[in-house]
């Protein structure tokens, strides 16, 4: 089976957002970047799929040279090959998805894994965009996956429950926490990953469809009110919620 997993290189969850000189992007100095947590789940599922059906897992990231670090991590987990679609320019989701879809098509992917969302811009749209561009089905926010010969049964998380989805293959799956427990790279995996080449390709330019303006920080909250220090404060708290905040 030809398995593709798309991974994004994102600021670590502890990152304190400092707006950069252009007023639009964050200042990357001192920011640690990592493999997007949902994409790590995607990588694990891709590797499990290969264990079941054989074939090859190609991990692909679009971005600049720093993305190689994330590709190495995926190689260390066990992916066979890595491809960097090299474009350090800032693109919108549509432009990114379009280049990723082109790659998947050229490669002839049988199944594509993404994360359910990138934790930088929290878009949660690339999986669906790629699938529609390729004219194939997709299942998002997947917590359970069973792959058969030419169909899949997936369970996706929705508000207040789960949906069981039947889909044909090829398809795009976007991974949600709970789908699996991503493996830690073994020492051998880490050593092997250093030797595996990262293929570089230049994706064709695609016009953006969304213009991103200035970034700002949400207004800081005024200092809250400490109502008390034991059970005797309960009545006052409930009164405030009822009469001042009017939320109960």
């Amino acid at each position: 089976m030809k398995i593709v997993v798309f991974v994004n290189h994102v600021p670590d969850t502890e990152t304190k957002v400092k707006i950069g000189a252009d007023g639009k992007l964050i200042d990357p100095t001192g920011v640690n970047f990592m493999l997007n947590p949902y994409d790590e789940i995607g990588v694990e599922e891709a590797l499990k799929t290969k264990q079941q059906f054989g074939g090859e897992v190609v991990v692909v990231s679009l971005g600049g040279d720093p993305n190689k670090e994330t590709l190495r991590k995926a190689l260390a987990m066990g992916c066979d090959r890595a491809v960097l679609l090299k474009d350090p320019a800032v693109r919108d989701s549509y432009a990114v998805a379009s280049s990723l879809a082109d790659y998947a098509k050229e490669y002839g992917a049988d199944i594509i894994f993404c994360g359910k969302q990138s934790i930088d811009y929290d878009d949660a749209q690339i999986g669906g965009l790629i699938a529609e561009m390729l004219g194939i089905p997709s299942v998002s926010v997947v917590v359970k996956l069973e792959i058969k010969e030419s169909a899949i049964i997936a369970e996706r998380e929705i508000e207040g429950g789960h949906e069981i989805v039947r889909s044909s293959l090829p398809a795009v799956i976007t991974a949600q926490k709970g789908l699996n427990e991503p493996r830690y790279p073994s020492l051998k995996g880490i050593m092997d990953a250093k030797r595996k080449p990262i293929e570089e390709k230049v994706p064709s330019a695609v016009a953006s469809r969304v213009e991103v303006g200035a970034m700002s920080k949400p207004a800081a909250k005024a200092q809250g009110k400490i109502v008390g220090s034991d059970a005797s404060a309960a009545a006052e708290l409930v009164r405030l919620l009822h009469e001042e905040a009017k939320v109960i």
């Binding site: 600021p11 969850t13 502890e14 990152t15 957002v17 989701s93 549509y94 998805a97 934790i119 930088d120 811009y121 929290d122 949660a124 749209q125 669906g128 965009l129 529609e132 089905p137 997709s138 299942v139 998002s140 926010v141 917590v143 929705i158 508000e159 207040g160 429950g161 789960h162 949906e163 069981i164 989805v165 889909s167 044909s168 926490k177 709970g178 953006s208 969304v210 213009e211 991103v212 303006g213 700002s216 920080k217 949400p218 909250k221 809250g224 009110k225 400490i226 008390g228 220090s229 034991d230 404060a233 309960a234 009545a235 708290l237 409930v238 919620l241 009822h242 905040a245 939320v247 109960i248």
Partner: protein
């Protein structure tokens, strides 16, 4: 100029977001001298469709088919795009719910439009729609403008207020869309509902518990308070990872993003990844025995004390107030 508003329903009942979307669309349409056409997809839904008039829809298009009883990524996206074309809608608005987030990118590609996802504010300036959306889990906000002729927006649930209906009924137009097997290449076959449980993503009030509760058995205290408030139960990642609670209750950067009117954090320290998921709540209450816990930095009201004493006392007061 028309705005197509996707009104989500499940089991023949509108989700709260359906009204929020129609109302938000109406607010934008009024500034662009446009009108709102709502679209409802499902089975046996014509009866509920008209009520969208009360939130600002001038017409409702209902697409009914037994095969549309449950959601299908491929069929729903085709229908929404087809209706948008039939109505020559320049704008499509959907909820950033699990259904809306799943279908919106596909609709955008079919309409050759750009998509602004997870918007929390829409303003119109000189005929241009500016959408504000949180990035980096709410640590930043960006303003985006969709530059294509057709524009697609998903709006974060619970942020745009629907208000109450003005009582008007909209005219309902039933439209048949030809659907073949290929249009159901991905389709839901079954919905497993978590038995009557309120979901944090939709709840107006959430009571969340953290590791300070010491063990899963002590969540009964959280459930009691949630029960008294009619709230959903949430959890920090620490308790989900420990297996005390299920992942669907997790709030935060790798859990759910919530914007309830009231969020009560009990024995949760307030790590950045937790704040990421709930900092946009309208009111935040923190109960923690450590006065330096970061959760207090974003709380509107706090009690610095032992949850085991404080929470049952609050539950009793709430019951007294609400006469339960």
């Amino acid at each position: 100029m028309k705005i197509l508003a996707f009104a989500e329903q499940r089991n023949g009942q509108f989700k709260k977001t359906a009204f929020e979307i129609v109302k938000a669309a109406k607010t934008v349409a009024d500034q662009l001298s446009g009108e709102v056409v709502a679209v409802v997809i499902g089975n046996n839904i014509a009866a509920i469709a008209g009520q969208l008039g009360g939130f600002g829809a001038s017409k409702v298009v209902a697409v009914e088919d037994a095969r549309l009883e449950l959601y299908s990524t491929t069929a729903y996206s085709k229908i929404i795009a087809d209706i948008a074309k039939l109505e020559s809608a320049a704008i499509v608005m959907l909820p950033a719910s699990e259904m809306g987030k799943d279908v919106a990118p596909r609709v955008a590609v079919k309409l050759d439009g750009g998509l602004a996802a997870g918007c929390t504010m829409l303003t119109v300036e000189g005929g241009t729609i500016k959408a504000t959306r949180p990035v980096y889990a709410g640590k930043g906000l960006v303003e985006v403008v969709v530059t294509t002729a057709t524009k697609v927006y998903t709006l974060r649930p619970n942020v745009f207020t629907a208000g109450s209906s003005n009582g008007q009924m909209a005219s309902v137009e039933n439209i048949k869309i030809e659907l073949g097997d290929a249009d159901f290449s991905a389709a839901v076959t079954e919905v497993k509902a978590a038995s009557g449980k309120k979901d944090v993503a939709e709840a107006d009030i959430i009571v969340s518990g953290g590791r300070g509760l010491k063990g899963p058995e002590n969540f009964s205290m959280i459930e009691d308070l949630a029960g008294a408030l009619g709230a959903a139960v949430g959890a920090s990642r620490a308790v989900v990872d420990a297996g005390w609670r299920t992942h669907d209750e997790q709030v935060g950067q790798t859990g759910k993003t919530v914007s309830p009117s009231l969020y009560v954090a009990v024995a949760i320290s307030g790590a950045v990844q937790h704040l990421a998921g709930m900092s946009s709540s309208k009111y935040i209450v923190a109960i923690n025995k450590d006065k330096d816990a970061p959760i207090f930095s974003i709380a509107d009201y706090g009690i610095v004390g032992d949850a085991f004493e404080v929470v049952p006392a609050i539950t009793a007061e709430v019951k007294k107030l609400l006469g339960k």
